[in-house]
Point group: C2
Chain length 391, copies 2
């Protein structure tokens, strides 16, 4: 197949709230080639990624992401990898390129799967896909009473694990954190797995983080997620000395294979969390998952938007029976829900199965795109370089 | 001072060539506050960085870089740091933000220096600035004969060191590389320091790189720059086993303090090369320089554009007598030359002195901006979010 078009669709809720919900807008990628259509999604700041697709060249290692896409031939997975390598070198000094390319890479895998009439994971390897156990992601309450009630509700929904995060956890006193942990564990009961997302609360301060490790251990927290900012490898190593049986999870901020691998090799995490929409698409996420499997580190997807992104994020570790957990966007925005017609449901057994329909196995609602489309126009020296495409 | 305006000026040569010269365009930042004006510069892809300044919010951790700048108070260096921290957290998921903020941070240091009538390095600390020894950056020739002639010419220009780079070095056979190294060493003579920039030729393949180390050692190469892609820490560690007396230099691709520090802690480089226009401005570059000094690692600026960027890039390691080398853009484009009126010259003693005039000590040519200004218009849902400002 030859790539005929690469279109970016910026969609958004009518009002974007100043809250952590990352599903309030989306940048969808449609690739068309020889009558086939593939869809992908880029993580975050749609306008910036659109600009990176069409920005005038700065020099030979700073070309726009779209410089060499049209007319490129995609016959098998190696072609997607080769095109990604080319974009990487040609856009090396364009920081945003990794996020933009990620969505295009995902669309190319969807495209190739549809042309061959196989699910994407079959393009990655012959092993059967393993079902994943989703955890519910919720926020700590404003006080322990509220956390208790949130925890009870989450446990009642039938999830095998609940991850608590954000709010003020880690930013106040150790005693306050212990009260929150106690309330959460009490609410979910003894049989539900318990994870905590610190949302980078301690920057690169391993001492502050380590003060919480005994309590996390006592409340049998499976893993502590993102105690530090991305790349703070020294702090991660220092924390490892006091983590006891609590696993450390991180990596969602990785925008390259190397950055994710460094979280395994240099930060020593027990769970590497990868957003396929940031790290370089399914291609690079699969390389990370393969490396993690060899290193004995569990892989978990990071996903907080549509089921298109969810399906893409599950493919890279489809085979890995030792990476059994998956992040599952429980309550995405009405936009994210409307964008896909068939999604990736949680089965009656509480597990998530990777779609077996061709490509990513997710059908995009063009009607939802039309009704949420953001109209963008970018001109440089009087020439229109981008106008939002129509469907 | 309260920030009254933050303006981005995208300037470019009439034609951008598909060559490595990174000075063919520039994104200048002008910050105005209480009648004072500061100038900064962002690295690469001006249109993408402009979009990141004004992009609609995606969620609470993905705001545009410009979200909280206007009206912010800048009284001393701590205010610049605090504003940078705020931008970092508010734009965490906006990958391009680090490059955009870098130029704004640089402009704020220039502004504060001008208001206080002191050079920026005096705002960083009381120690006297040390002159730096520039090296000439040239390219290997297409064959050893051409390299010999380039090397003779470079040595005749009086530089104490010459760095050879790019071209096909490292991408052919070891024998070909040895011929190039021999020609370069012969051309510069025995008394001139010799560096080699491998321009990421070996990806993350330490074996291929290590095959060149004995020759680099034999030709007394001071350091080998960027054998691998940014963040390939494992390959750097493996290469260290065979490097002999050849130093390893890298870090220009770092777009955060943590990424640069990881090149010291995890990759084990001997020289950390930092681009202040990428890493988070003078603030973060100074943190890296301070860390490097404590770790016994030499700091070198990475600069390939204007003398405004050069002055900004020299401030962070102004005091460090153990970091004596500086990268000096020898032949930037006519645009880059025209953008500053007074620059950072090489003195009669062959050394570069950091300007002692207030701020960055560099005067911007508004005429050069006007005559090279690229006209950008960005509209979202019918609202004009950016029009190139006029001077």
């Amino acid at each position: 197949m030859r790539i005929d078009s690469v279109d970016l669709f910026y969609v958004a809720m009518p009002t974007i709230l100043d809250i952590g919900d990352g599903s309030q807008d989306a940048l969808l990628v449609r690739v068309q080639a020889d009558g086939f259509v593939g869809w992908g999604e880029c993580e975050a700041s749609p306008l910036t990624s659109i600009a990176s697709l069409i920005a005038p060249m700065s020099h030979s290692a700073c070309k726009p992401v779209g410089a060499n896409l049209l007319g490129a031939t995609i016959t098998d997975p190696a072609d997607i990898r080769a095109l990604g390598e080319r974009v990487r070198w040609d856009s090396f000094d364009l920081l945003q390129a990794a996020h933009t390319w990620s969505g295009i890479d995902i669309a190319l895998w969807d495209l190739l799967g549809k042309q061959r009439e196989v699910p994407v994971h079959e393009l990655l390897g012959p092993e059967p896909a393993q079902p994943k156990l989703p955890y519910a992601s919720v926020l700590f309450g404003q006080d322990p009473e509220q956390t208790l009630s949130i925890a009870k509700e989450a446990a009642a929904s039938g999830f095998a694990a609940v991850k608590f995060g954000w709010s003020d956890f880690g930013r106040g006193t150790v005693a306050e954190d212990i009260e929150q942990l106690a309330a959460a564990r009490e609410g979910i009961g003894e049989d539900v797995e318990f994870m905590v997302d610190a949302a980078m609360a301690w920057g690169d301060d391993a001492v502050s983080a380590s003060k919480r490790m005994k309590s996390l251990h006592d409340f049998r927290v499976l893993f502590l997620e993102e105690p530090f900012v991305p790349g703070a490898t020294r702090a991660y190593r220092e924390l490892a000395l006091s983590k006891g049986r609590v696993g450390i999870a991180a990596g969602e901020g990785s925008s390259s294979y190397e950055a994710a691998i460094s979280m395994i090799d240099d930060a020593g995490v027990d769970y590497v969390q990868v957003d396929a929409g940031r790290v370089g698409g399914i291609t690079e996420a699969f390389r990370v998952a393969s490396y993690a499997a060899r290193a004995g580190v569990s892989y978990i997807n990071h996903t907080f938007t549509t089921h298109l992104a969810l399906s893409a994020s599950l493919q890279p570790f489809a085979f890995d029976a030792n990476s059994g957990w998956c992040e599952y966007p429980l309550m995405p925005s009405s936009l994210a829900q409307a964008l896909t017609i068939d999604g990736v449901p949680v089965g009656a057994d509480g597990r998530v199965r990777i779609p077996e329909a061709p490509g990513l196995g997710v059908t995009i609602s063009e009607e939802a795109i039309r009704s949420h489309l953001v109209d963008v126009e970018i001109s440089v020296d009087g020439t229109r370089l981008f106008s939002s495409p129509r469907l």
